[in-house]
């Protein structure tokens, strides 16, 4: 019996309750609040490296909507595949890309996280209510190799935790 005291403590019932509570909390947090992500690809360089680990925080948008600049996880297909992109356009805005520069409602968007820009060009896109415009931080890629564009609010799963 004395060998079990370091394991279960002097109050095994309390220990078991603590274990059950911690386990339940972990299930709730990692099942419903934080979605583990392993980033694959280079579209978010230099902000996030290929293979980086992170979490999508679903709770981030329980009390407010996504805002410009947020890096979000976008449900790509099914429950386990996500894009990770940055929001540059909000619902109702007009987004255009001219020679690598993003403009929103005809005003140049200041993007401190973008280091190098290839000469991307994209015709103006008018965002509907509930639509956001997302793009990765790596603009040195060829435009045809970079997935970006309009996304419906319902596909935004959460905000990256760090």
């Amino acid at each position: 019996m004395s060998l079990l005291i370091p394991i279960v403590g002097r109050n095994p019932r309390a220990t078991l309750l603590r274990i059950a509570f911690t386990s339940g909390l972990a299930v709730v947090v990692f099942g419903w609040v934080l979605v583990p992500l392993r980033l694959s690809g280079i579209s978010m360089l230099p902000t996030y490296e290929d293979g980086a680990l992170n979490f999508a925080n679903r709770a981030a948008y329980w009390t407010h909507e996504p805002v410009r600049g947020d890096v979000v996880a976008i449900r790509m297909a099914g429950p386990n595949a996500f894009y990770v992109k940055r929001i540059v356009g909000m619902p109702g805005e007009r987004v255009e890309i001219v020679a690598g520069t993003v403009t929103v409602n005809h005003e140049v968007l200041i993007e401190p996280t973008v280091v190098r820009r290839a000469q991307w060009n994209m015709a103006p896109v008018d965002l509907a209510p509930g639509e956001f415009f997302v793009v990765g931080d790596n603009r040195s890629m060829k435009i045809e190799h970079h997935d970006f564009g309009r996304v419906s609010r319902r596909r935004i799963a959460g905000k990256l935790l760090f």
């Binding site: 694959s40 449900r75 992109k85 896109v125 060829k142 435009i143 970006f148 564009g149 309009r150 996304v151």
Partner: protein
Amino acid sequence: MSAIEESLTVPENDGELGRLARIAALRNLLAPDIAVSTGAPRPGAEVPPELVGRDAVLALAGRWVPPAGGVTIEFVDMQVTVDAGRSTAQVYCTARISSGPDDRPLVDARELTIGFARIDGSWLIASVRPEDTLVR
């Protein structure tokens, strides 16, 4: 659906015979007037946004060069609806595309609506439409 997976999955170091066998198997799964949407048009895309007809789809399949490590196609999260006359059906699913022999890292995933038609007693693919997540 498993027959479709088999006809689209390419093993590692696949040869010409295997490729021809898969195309032949795929032909038996497609309706003659199949319509395949490849998604929203993108700059620089080599595939047209819409393919109509079995021959057009098979021609594209014949031109496709898979990676040496092979490609695995899986359909998951399927929801099936069959019309009252049991002549058409819709399958809403997620297509997961993986590459590599063992770990098979996920390369791409798409939500699809696959339409089936019952022709001469067999269910054949009549339409394929992906749901675009990011649209320019």
